[in-house]
């Protein structure tokens, strides 16, 4: 089989730091080639070199066997390479058709935009992606993430892309949309498109890929047909060491009830929730996006105070009307979105960690910088944050390390109840298992952890008990022994229809 695109001996440095060394990689017509590696392994840089965003310092790129030099993304696109970005680079206020043809719209004889043709061709492209439900005149901003992604794929096809690079396409999709995306990818593959597929989710890779290439620390670990690999082997290639167990919750003695909710409600999004969290327990909450899981966390933490029902801490009824009160009662909240609610990105690690405990670090309103720095150093050591020091700005850290800082920040308050919303979303395998190990250790110390997660393996592996939410209510409870993927998955899928029709994936 011939390669559509072939990279040979690619090296690249930024500011004298080498990020890619002697990488060879190729994509053939009609295959899905998965590109794997931990964050910082060099995947993004390699993609950007193929897309013409960066230029390689050394090495050559061949398209259909011919040597090319991409001076710009436009040159790469002209060679038939298109990228579906993780963050979906679309114009929310323009229509679907305009987005698809931005920069290469069909023109009429005298140079004006040819609207009828543009709409017709957009329709045709979307139909080819089995996306008959997307209106070509709709504003892209009004579409769900899954639909926006299809627009972006249609945009790539509109430029006659023969190679499609997809950067973590399923990172922000709910399960059902993931399945549909995978079938679109298969459809494209069967039409002879070569697909470079970047993902952290190994089950997807096994379901989809024909070949796999693994990068680590900027070097090529290897390329192999998927049939020659299993999950364990792939993970050890990525992290450079075998990871025995991805989800290492140790058995701990479950203690007294810490937190009890009785018929807790917030408007109509959280309805009549009753549950008990014990010391040393990890209570997993599964459910689809939009099932009210995050809203429940926000209500317990006082960001959206309960409209009815009771919260009991140590068997005493408490009112929680603000995050300050929640914190003072020993509750900590590691939010779903590290950027939005977790971190002050322009500030340093030390400043972020001390944010929750400013009062105890200050005397007479003045912060003791030595104490602050000590706290930060301890946290960096305890949580294994890879940083050059406590004064490094957090936006310079990788996702996994940012998440460790969020955890450190909340554990500085010495909480007894820890709410974690998607604790490992978007971070790589190595950091993920480190965070799981930390959670396990915290539970062993007697914390109660309420863990919300969309990743079923994580829920099943880490939880002592699993609760399933749907439409704001609890619809199932499983002990660790009963909690199988089938049982929990079935409870969640009951909610599928409702979550889907409202299109709230965003």
């Amino acid at each position: 089989m011939t390669s559509l695109v072939e990279l040979r001996g690619i090296s690249k440095s930024f500011a004298s730091v080498r990020v890619l060394q002697d990488i060879s990689f190729d994509v053939r017509a009609g295959e899905v080639h998965a590109l794997l590696g931990e964050n910082g392994a060099g995947k993004s840089t390699l993609i950007k070199i193929m897309a013409g965003v960066h230029r390689a310092d050394e090495g050559e790129i061949r398209v259909n066997g011919e040597l090319v030099h991409f001076a710009s993304p436009r040159a790469s696109a002209a060679s038939g390479i298109a990228v579906v970005h993780q963050e979906l680079l679309l114009f929310p206020d323009l229509s679907v058709a305009e987005n698809i043809f931005m920069g290469h719209a069909p023109r009429t004889g005298w140079g004006a935009l040819d609207w009828p043709q543009m709409r017709e061709r957009a329709r045709d492209l979307l139909d080819r992606l089995q996306s008959h439900h997307i209106d070509v005149d709709a504003h892209v901003g009004s579409l769900s993430v899954a639909n926006r992604q299809r627009v972006e794929i249609a945009r790539a096809l509109s430029q006659d892309a023969r190679v499609l690079i997809m950067d973590e396409p399923t990172a922000s999709l709910v399960e059902e949309d993931v399945q549909q995306l995978l079938s679109i990818v298969r459809l494209l593959r069967d039409k002879g498109v070569g697909i470079v597929y970047v993902s952290h989710k190994l089950p997807e890779v096994f379901a989809l890929a024909d070949r796999v290439t693994v990068l680590r620390d900027g070097a090529l670990v290897g390329t192999a047909p998927i049939g020659e690999l299993d999950e364990r082997r792939l993970v050890s290639m990525m992290v450079g060491r075998p990871i025995d167990q991805l989800f290492p919750k140790q058995a701990t003695k479950i203690g007294a009830p810490l937190l009890e909710l009785r018929s807790l409600s917030f408007n109509s999004v959280v309805r009549d929730i009753s549950l008990t969290l014990h010391a040393g327990e990890i209570l997993g909450i599964a459910g689809l996006i939009g099932s009210g899981r995050t809203e429940l966390a926000l209500t317990v933490f006082g960001i959206t105070p309960a409209t009815s029902g009771q919260i009991l801490i140590d068997n005493q009824a408490m009112r929680i009307d603000s995050p300050q009160q929640a914190r003072d009662l020993g509750i900590a909240y590691v939010p779903e979105d590290r950027g939005l609610q977790g971190l002050v990105r322009p500030q340093s690690i030390a400043e972020n960690i001390s944010l929750t405990v400013l009062k105890s670090l200050a005397t007479g309103g003045l912060i003791d910088h030595r104490k602050e720095e000590t706290l930060a150093r301890e946290s960096i050591a305890k949580f294994g944050v890879r940083a050059r020091g406590p004064r490094q700005i957090v936006q310079q850290l990788s996702g996994g390390n940012q998440q460790k800082v969020v955890l450190a920040k909340w554990l500085a308050t010495e909480p007894r109840i820890l709410i974690m919303d998607e604790p490992t979303r978007g971070i790589d395998v190595g950091a993920k298992s480190e965070i799981h190990a930390l959670m396990s250790a915290l539970a062993a110390r007697g914390l109660g952890i309420l863990m919300i997660s969309s990743e079923l393996p994580e829920v099943l592996g880490m939880s002592d008990r699993v609760l399933v939410m749907k439409n704001g209510t609890l619809v199932g409870e499983f002990d660790r022994a009963q909690a199988t993927a089938e049982a929990v998955g079935a409870a969640m899928t009951l909610a599928n229809a409702a979550a889907n029709s409202s299109g709230e994936a965003a």
Partner: protein
């Protein structure tokens, strides 16, 4: 890990430059300006001229301290020039009408605090964007001032009113105000929990709220403090000459905002220091005086300031990009 090692080897000096990069750039620009203009025209370095530069523009630096607080907290105030005009007129009027001098000095400061605390409350609790609220204030204050005073000048203030003309060890009072307030505020921003709260709220209000801070109160606090500094600035402005023109000094708010931004305060909020804004205010004053000594029309001043803004922002972007490239790995 080789990467982390390379980063760890960076010297303490380079970390200092990273943390206070913009401040060093502005300081360097001031020194370069002194050397170049001094070489062309040595009279520029004359004691009297230097004292005039610093003392005549100290009120801009003082106002820029407050502006920095507001911008760091994630907001903006385009009405500060009008506020200073109003407060200066209040000070002069009280003095002329025979109120005790301490009344003429403190009332404008208190009025500044109250007005801006209200502005802050409108922004924080009614969630109106600060640019809208302060644009409204700009018109109200400017229009109100002209209507009430009819544009007449205030004269015949009692001699003890002129605090800006007092000297200690030969150095005019405004210089002390500028230096002392800058140092106090720099320390406060660095060491006080409330100062830290301003940075956190400006950097990410949602994260600050989740961490148990109060973004609304912090906003009101930043504006109230800004009102205090506007009051002091108005006092220095009102007492440096024998007359107070009861109009708003043209473009003052832009000069003050520019000083904050050139001093390294990010217009997006969350970063910057008041040392930077004061140095930038001094830099402007020096440029304006240098133009005179270099026989360049003073009308060029605004154009030069404009170039300066663009140059600093470009330098800032380049610095950030370098750090990002180094940090992402």
């Amino acid at each position: 890990m080789a990467i982390a090692g390379a980063i760890n080897r960076r010297s303490a000096a380079s970390r200092l430059v990273e943390a206070y990069g913009q401040e060093f750039v502005v300081l360097g620009a001031i020194i370069a300006l002194f050397m170049i203009v001094g070489a062309v025209n040595p009279r520029f370095l004359n004691d009297n001229n230097l004292v005039n530069i610093f003392s005549g523009n100290a009120y801009i630096a003082v106002a820029a301290i407050g502006m920095s607080l507001v911008i760091i907290s994630g907001h903006i105030d385009v009405s500060v020039g009008s506020l200073i005009g109003v407060l200066a007129t209040i000070a002069g009027t009280l003095a002329v009408q025979g109120y005790p001098i301490w009344v003429a000095w403190t009332v404008p400061v208190l009025v500044g605090i109250v007005i801006n605390a209200l502005v802050g409350a409108l922004i924080a609790y009614f969630r109106i964007p600060s640019i809208v609220v302060t644009l409204g204030m700009l018109s109200i204050l400017k229009g109100g001032l002209i209507s009430v005073t009819g544009g007449t000048w205030i004269t015949n203030m009692p001699p003890e009113f002129f605090i800006a003309q007092a000297r200690l060890f030969g150095i005019p009072a405004p210089v002390y105000f500028m230096v002392v307030l800058t140092i106090l505020m720099a320390l406060w921003m660095r060491y006080a929990s409330l100062g830290r709260a301003i940075y956190a709220v400006g950097g990410n209000p949602e994260a600050a709220r989740a961490a148990g801070l109060y973004p609304e109160r912090t906003c009101v606090l930043a504006f109230a403090m800004h009102g205090f500094f506007a009051g002091i600035a108005a006092l220095l402005f009102a007492t440096q000459l024998q007359v107070i023109q009861s109009t708003v000094p043209p473009n003052l708010e832009l000069t003050v905002i520019t000083a904050a931004v050139i001093g390294g305060v990010s217009i997006l909020g969350g970063t910057g220091t008041v040392i930077g804004s004061t140095l930038a205010a001094i830099l402007f004053a020096c440029i304006s005086s240098a133009l005179v000594f270099l026989n360049v029309s003073a009308y060029w001043l605004r154009a030069v300031l404009g170039l300066l803004i663009l140059a600093t922002v470009l330098a800032d972007m380049a610095r950030r990009r370098r750090h990002r490239a180094a940090g992402r790995l």
